[in-house]
Amino acid sequence: MKKVIKKKNRGLTKSGPLLLIALPGIIYLFINNYIPMFGVFLAFKDYSYVKGIFGSDWNGLNNFKYLFKQDAFLIIRNTLLYNFTFIILGTIFAIIVAILMCELGEKFRVKIFQSSLLLPNLLSWVVIGFIGYAFLNADTGFINNTLIKLMGSGKEVAWYTTPKYWPFILTIVYLWKNIGYSSIIYMASISGIDKSIFEAAKIDGAKKLEQIKHITIPMLKPTIIILTLMAVGRIFYSDFGLFYQVPMNSGALYKTTQTIDTYVYHGLMELQDIGMSAAAALYQSVVGFVLVITANAVVRKVDNDNALF
């Protein structure tokens, strides 16, 4: 018994300073993420400015109804499919880029490539939207005006009114913007791998590709799982800028570009109903929460060591 208590105390003295270091972060998290959670009441209220958040009348589930109207299926499908694509392709490309970077070796070259890959991530979506517009504009865009003419193969495409191209355009734009950034984490994990393992493999006659397949990727597994689990938690959200700015909010494209966030935005810009926006946010978080728990449970079953909790 004594031993246990001692051990406990030691744990506290050991982690005390660490907790202190984390304190500003924890306080920030609390103020920024926990206190606003009282706002969750709004999702069930008919908000009135005079009565305030707690005094407003209860509204049952009425605020949620619009989320399940008409195109709900299409919108949920878009949101989920895009996010699945982004998680899968994003991870694959980020790992490839990270491995290539690590193989470059020389510091100077790495810095140049890395900076140029990171650059798009620093641009705002509005700017990226207009870069896309410069390519796709019906009258003066680069593709219609130069590429298609050069290839001599006929018809100009009205990009902003043809929905079928947009899943590809949006995926390309997403990857272009995000890969540089997400590859950094993988690069960090790769440089953390013990170099002697690679040397041993080399002596055993393993080629570069074999080294990657048998050492790098298995060693990256925990990082991949954690990042994927975190991405799954946000699978019901969508990057508003990507889906709103890049298609220039063109109505004709809604079939393939409308996601939950843009739907809520369009519907409520005119109504400005606080309760309904809160309902949308709650709906997204609850589904995200359930998905994370499920995904984690699956991981735990398959590979207990790598589960998040």
């Binding site: 051990k7 406990k8 744990g11 506290l12 982690s15 907790l19 924890i26 306080i27 609390f30 926990y34 206190i35 908000y47 009135s48 400015y49 005079v50 009565k51 009425n62 109804k65 619009y66 109207k69 008409q70 195109d71 504009n137 019906a138 009258d139 009205a158 902003y160 009114t161 220039m248 909010n249 063109s250 109505g251 004709a252 809604y254 409308q258 739907y263 369009h266 519907g267 409520l268 810009m269 005119e270 109504l271 400005q272 109903d273 606080i274 309904m276």
Partner: protein
């Protein structure tokens, strides 16, 4: 691991407790502050009113604002025992900024509705002015008149005062004079929107590289405003749902009307012949920007000023390109065209009487109104002998310390503002006449309360956003798209909205 979890638990619970304490503390602090400020007010014995207005100009810095506020305070202290704090907010954040401030318990006593009078009333943002208006704003009531005040009345209670300005929007074509002269086009022959097609063809023939018609704003070629005698029944002009047409008191589906189908056909013809900008449905450039370029000829829009004045003022904004304007329809007044800009006292205001007294001055006192709009004389503007206002030599709207000149039609009483250089004094008379003469909707004064059909509203708005821009700019085929559009609308619940409108309208008719 177990220890760590326990530690985490403890940390969490400690944080929760701290949080709760912090909450209650901040509450008490807030109260103290409230008390302190009210104490102060008592000492000075002036009520402090915060006046939040939307500005289209640069937001002046706080020192400059103070100087203007001080000039206004000299008047208000003496006249109504009130001190004013000016709170200009950029137009694009205005609504959200005001509603967030009010939710957060911040002080705003006077604010304007930008198009959503009804919403402000149904979410209890507006103070009921019925019992105060006669004692504190009688002069304003007299200027505006009972008829116009009806538009901001709901269930017999008055919730705001509409800005007094030229209300009647007249559809016009704004065109480049030089091109019309050169090609010998007689624009006075254009009497309605359908006459425009031949003009556009002539221009296209002479200048094949030109797109003669540009959109007035994202997603509309402006043609939607040319349907005569439409009462939008409280909806936005750019996303109408159920409407009234003419004197018939049955609410109908805007998109089912024959006029709408004809307009969609018309824009499709323009699109196919290359007469309208091909990406009109998505471009974010404004009409004035597009008109500044060489490859455009005209656009269709609705303004509340006489044609010559409109042409002159837009010409100034496009860098002095000579423009002409021709009227292609008649003005029509419905409730929304008046109450779209309504001044309201906030329901959370601690000094509603003082706020209303100040609001009254913005309708009646020329000194207060012109300080708000133009700032301080000789620093922010100069006035010539005839009373016309312009910027001091070498200065413009962007360089003077204070101006809210572009907000002229939104603050208080437009007719008490000093006229700007380049406009005519007769125009004011024309405009005030238009307010009286323009044909008025038989449902004038009726406002629709959308709170019971919110769910349907948000779904319908999404469908409209999806189809309407394409139809109004010609980029989709109406033969195929209108049936699909209407189908989607009724799936989204347009019929429920129309029914709700009809019920409320019938109720209103019974009482009026």
């Amino acid at each position: 691991m177990k220890n760590f979890k326990k530690l985490l638990l403890i940390a969490c619970s400690v944080l929760m407790v701290i949080g709760l304490v912090a909450c209650s503390k901040s509450d008490s602090v807030g109260n103290d502050k409230g008390k302190a400020s009210s104490d102060k007010v008592e000492k000075k014995s002036y009520d402090k009113v915060v006046y939040a207005y939307a500005t289209f100009n640069n937001i002046p810095n706080s020192d400059v604002l103070e100087t203007v506020a001080e000039e206004i305070n000299v008047i208000t202290r003496e006249k109504i025992n009130v001190e004013v704090e000016l709170l200009p907010i950029a137009i694009f954040d205005y609504s959200s900024s005001v509603s967030l401030t009010l939710q957060g318990g911040g002080q705003i006593d006077l604010f304007e509705s930008l198009g959503d009078f009804n919403n402000s009333v149904s979410s209890d943002m507006a103070y009921d002015l019925t019992d105060m208006i006669d004692s504190y704003a009688a002069e304003t009531k007299e200027i505006i008149g009972e008829d116009i005040l009806k538009s901001t009345t709901k269930g017999g209670r008055i919730y705001g005062i509409p800005t007094y300005k030229p209300y009647a929007l007249t559809p016009m074509v704004i065109y480049k004079q030089e091109i019309a002269d050169e090609l010998g086009i007689d624009m006075t022959q254009v009497k309605d929107i359908f006459d425009l097609t031949d003009v556009l063809r002539t221009v296209k023939e002479a200048y094949p590289d030109m797109t003669p018609l540009v959109p007035v704003q994202t997603g509309t070629s402006g043609v939607n405003m040319t349907i005569p005698e439409v009462d939008y029944l409280t909806d936005d002009y750019y996303s109408p749902k159920g409407i009234l047409k003419g004197n018939d008191m049955t609410v109908i589906d805007y998109y089912g009307t024959e006029e709408f189908a004809r307009l969609a056909d018309l824009t499709r013809t323009w699109y196919n012949e290359g007469l309208i900008l091909q990406d009109a449905a998505t471009t974010t450039s404004t009409a004035t920007e597009l008109m500044s370029a060489d490859n455009s000829f005209c656009y269709v829009a609705s303004y509340s000023y006489p044609t010559e004045d409109t042409a002159a003022s837009i010409s100034a904004q496009t860098g002095g390109i000579p423009l002409g304007a021709v009227q292609i329809g008649e003005a029509y007044l419905d409730t929304t065209s008046i109450n779209a800009l309504t001044w309201m006292v906030s329901s959370t205001s601690k000094v509603p009487e003082a706020a209303l007294k100040f609001l009254n001055l913005t309708f009646t006192d020329p000194d207060v109104i012109n300080l708000l709009i133009y700032g301080i004389k000789d620093r922010d503007y100069v006035m010539d002998e005839e009373g016309f206002v312009s910027y001091p030599e070498g200065q413009d709207a962007a360089s003077v310390p204070y101006t809210a000149q572009l907000s002229v039609g939104t603050l208080g009483n437009f007719f008490k503002m000093y006229p700007q250089e380049g406009t005519k004094k007769e125009s004011l008379i024309w405009e005030e006449e238009q307010n009286q003469l323009a044909k008025k909707s038989p449902a004038m004064g009726f406002t629709f309360d959308s709170s019971e059909v919110k769910t349907e509203y948000s779904a319908v708005i999404n469908v409209i956003n999806q189809y309407l821009p394409g139809l109004l700019c010609g980029s989709v085929d109406p033969v195929e798209m209108i049936p699909e559009f209407r189908n989607k609308l009724s799936e989204a619940g347009l019929d429920t909205i129309i029914k709700a409108k009809q019920t409320q309208l019938d109720e209103w008719l019974k009482n009026n």
